[in-house]
Point group: C2
Chain length 98, copies 2
């Protein structure tokens, strides 16, 4: 999930407004004509990633007939800069196809 | 996800403390000897459900060699009692097996 490794078909869900990510889904499927995209998030943004996938499928890009190909969850580990302790955070990757 | 339909192998993630759900995972797999359980949550509890699945697998029940069989996301719709408007909420079900 490092920024420098982002693939063209990956949407990293962060602090941007919800509709900004909905536009990204639309751009990747319609503008760039991709057949598969990945929505990735970690920690508190996981719910937002699922909301984006669900709203794309059932509402904003309903006509594209988007399908969930797979959903993966995992754990990432960091060393906190403040107290040097290890922090674990859950991650999700939702693979959508048309 | 209605309470009256809860199956024995389902953990509904809500407002209880994190460790309470970890104990439930342990009880279902070890105490009741089940081979498959479902962790369900909706809305803001989705992140907690994933944290529970990940911590069970990699930390607290590490020796059980728990595997993720499947992850499903969906949307539930309610009619708000306050203003009679429809509310949509994302849901997750994580299927764990040993």
């Amino acid at each position: 999930m490092e920024r420098k490794q982002i693939k063209e078909n990956v949407i990293l869900v962060g602090i941007k407004p919800f509709m900004s990510y909905m536009k990204s889904v639309n751009t990747l499927f319609r503008g760039k004509n991709l057949k598969e995209i990945e929505i990735k998030a970690r920690g508190k943004n996981i719910k937002k990633a699922i909301d984006i996938a669900e709203s794309s499928r059932k509402k904003f890009c309903h006509d594209l007939n988007i399908k969930i190909k797979n959903i993966e969850i995992d754990t990432e580990h960091f060393i906190s800069k403040e107290d040097n302790k290890e922090i674990s955070v859950s991650t999700i990757t939702i693979f959508l196809t048309i």
